[in-house]
Amino acid sequence: MFRLKNMRKSTKSNLVTFGIVIGFYIVIQILSALGLLTSSLSGQLVPICSYVILAVSLNLTVGILGELSLGHAGFMSVGAFSGTIVWTTLYGQVPNWLGLLLSFVVGGVVAGLFGFIVGVPVLRLSGDYLAIVTLAFGEIIKNVMNACYLGYDSTGLHLSFKDAASMNMDPTGTMIINGAMGITGIKKASTFTIGIVLVILTLLVILNLINSRAGRAIESIRDNEIAARSVGINITKYKLMAFITSAVFAGIAGVLYSLNYSSLVAKKFDYNTSILILVFVVLGGIGNIRGSVIAAALLTVLPELLRAVNDYRMLIYAIVLIVVMIFSQSPQVVAWRKRILDGIRSRMKPGPKAKEVQ
């Protein structure tokens, strides 16, 4: 108890975040052991983990660095494709754990590389301009992957951006990416446990980054770029650091997501997906990592909970978004909420306070 009290506020808050994730894992395991887990929920566990990672990583760019990125699905896409290529080509040739590890590493590294390539020219821009350029990046990735034909045969790798016939591939060769059909016949490998491990890894890295010296430098750029520059902070370096970290985890989330399904198409990673992730971040609170975790999980499950109301599903989903947004962000509501909470607190306070004095 003594140590807990002396702990820094941020550390305590981080522990709560980890507690929520681990608690969620334990609850699901218990439900699963008792046979109470429905197929519907168990099928959503991996996507939930993947969306949590995406939201947390995007929050680093949007909330901590303070730059609006609308191309997060693009990083997810390059990560997903590169990781899945590694997984499918190595399948059966190396132990599964090694193949899986390699595909996550490759997915993350490739996405990070793209983060670097995009980041260097793009981070000179800011605000709306940056948003539009990242949006364009996401669309480029989608269209390139959609037109990409990749396969290998005895003579080596074949690549075409036109159609399958122009690859001149041996009929016995293997197609890896088949244009708009994407990658098919993926052996499913993602599990909830892997997902949770990756969520914890993401949280560890990103929370530590935020609370480090570098993190404070990044936050100072968000708060006032000119002031940050004047005290000698290397703006480009710290901007890139945040942007690339964000891209790496988006790539890892992409691999986790794609290995949960037997097929992968580029169309999935479009503008709508980027916006969806941004909605998680905004709804959970910009800069609030724990909020992102909770919002991503809830908003992934919500549309499925609303299946019962069929055609009104999307309407209710939208209304929920609006209500939550007003409830958590509108100044009047925030003031009203604070009054109510203070009221409750002042009624409950005397007991614990007396204890504290003792």
């Binding site: 808050s13 709560v16 929520i20 608690g23 969620f24 609850v27 699901i28 439900l31 109470l36 887990l37 429905t38 197929s39 519907s40 929920l41 168990s42 099928g43 959503q44 996507p47 669309e139 269209n143 959609n146 037109a147 159609d163 399958a164 016939a165 244009g179 708009a180 059909m181 994407g182 098919t184 016949g185 993926i186 499913k188 399904y261 037997s262 097929s263 198409v265 169309k267 999935k268 724990r290 909020g291 909770i294 999980a297 809830l298 499950v301 919500l302 549309p303 499925e304 909970l305 299946r307 019962a308 069929n310 055609d311 599903r313 999307m314 604070k338 909470l341």
Partner: protein, 402 residues
């Protein structure tokens, strides 16, 4: 304050998950109660057979909604007809929306599994079907898709069957037909490079056309992001002097191509595949532009055989619109399953896995007559064999091409 909110949110999350679990179970209990009431209804009908739970998945919202809704209506119509004719509930039917998205489709599949589905009639579109098919193999759940025509869908496993032709098959048959009848000497192709259906047909067509000695003078593409104006693609075909334009695309885009061609006075023979069916039903489209359009399609709403006529009039009565090929395939799916019920090979008391094995054996041996063709059989790989029919639009209606 922050702590309180986070605690509240955390508890809300746990609660919502619990609610998720309980909705799932409450749904299944409610389904069970309807099942019970149905069962009691049957018991009073002195039959005693348990209804079979059929699930359907398809996009009823989003960009592909017109196909999903057609399939849903076709399946529902067949289920209602069968139940009414039998005098008791043979099939219970539940259709879930997937928004033409693989992730949503998996969620829909899992929801149906919680409901107790015994056989799956869907999904409607290829991309979601690929993901769902992978899962049905693991569960050994019988899957019969009315319209997901990508060849990879049936290749996923031996429990996956198609009611429609595969894409490559359509491309090959089209090329053969064009070569055999000498419909064109210079062939242009306009296809959607972002669409798996279109690419599947086009790739096979291009290969077969070369093999048959057809001259493909130009192949131009568009993507789903830039299809608002297709006049450039039409102009390219015109420039290349194509006298036959092959359109392995869906009818909405095809109608734009016909309009664009008409504007510049370009009059080649247009040739489409099953996605073209429905072009005469587009609101505000001048059907005279489609005059002479040829299409390879297993179904025609104006066919005169008894099965088709019965289906078309029932569909029009129920939904006030002319059925397209998707609805017909869906309708046939339910009747194909019903044939297995009638010959006693499956019943509602079987588990999904047992039913899958029984249906697999049935489908590879039976011959089925439906609205999309007489004498349909299935190969062990899950593809359907039925005679392709080529129609030509004459006076605003399909006529069998000679």
């Amino acid at each position: 304050m922050k702590k309180l909110i986070s605690a509240a949110l955390a508890s809300a999350m746990v609660l919502s998950l619990a609610a998720c679990g309980s909705t799932g179970s409450s749904e299944s209990t409610s389904a069970a109660t309807t099942g019970d009431s149905a069962a009691t209804a049957e018991a009073s009908a002195t039959d005693g057979t348990t209804p079979i739970k059929l699930g359907g998945i398809g996009p009823t919202t989003g960009s592909a909604a017109s196909y999903g809704i057609a399939v849903m209506q076709g399946e529902q119509l067949a289920v209602d007809e069968i139940n009414a004719a039998a005098g008791h509930t043979v099939f219970e039917f539940k259709f879930e929306d997937d928004e033409h998205d693989a992730e949503k489709s998996m969620n829909a599949y899992n929801t149906l599994k919680d409901w107790g589905m015994q056989a799956l009639l869907g999904p409607v579109t290829s991309t979601p079907s690929l993901s769902v098919a992978g899962e049905t193999v693991n569960d050994n759940m019988f899957m019969l898709t009315p319209s997901a025509s990508a060849v990879d869908v049936v290749e996923t496993g031996d429990n996956v069957f198609q009611m429609c032709f595969t894409d490559p098959n359509q491309g090959i048959v089209s090329a053969d037909y064009i070569a055999e009848k000498g419909l064109g000497t210079k062939i242009g192709v306009i296809y959607d490079s972002s669409d798996a259906y279109s690419m599947g047909i086009y790739n096979a067509f291009a290969e077969e056309a070369t093999a048959k000695g057809l001259e493909v003078v130009t192949a131009v593409s568009f993507t789903s992001d830039n299809k608002s104006d297709l006049s450039t693609q039409v102009a390219k075909c015109q420039e290349a002097g194509a006298d036959l334009v092959f359109l392995p695309i869906y009818y909405n885009e095809a109608s734009q191509i016909l309009i664009a061609a008409d504007k510049v006075g370009y009059k080649p023979t247009f040739f489409g595949c099953d996605g073209m069916d429905g072009i005469l039903t587009i609101e505000g489209f001048d059907t005279s532009l489609a005059e002479g359009l040829m299409l390879l399609c297993p179904f025609s709403a104006t066919a005169t055989d008894e099965t088709t006529q019965k289906f078309v009039s029932a569909y029009e009565a129920a939904y006030n619109e002319t059925p397209i090929q998707f609805a017909a395939d869906a309708y046939d799916c339910v009747y194909a399953i019903y044939e297995c019920v009638q010959n006693g090979s499956i019943n509602g008391d079987m588990s999904a896995s047992d039913m899958c094995d029984a249906l697999k054996a049935q489908f590879t041996t039976m011959t089925f007559n439906g609205t999309t063709g007489e004498g349909q059989t299935w190969s062990a790989d899950g593809t359907v064999n039925k005679p392709p029919r080529v129609y030509v639009v004459t006076d605003g209606a399909y006529q069998t091409a000679e």
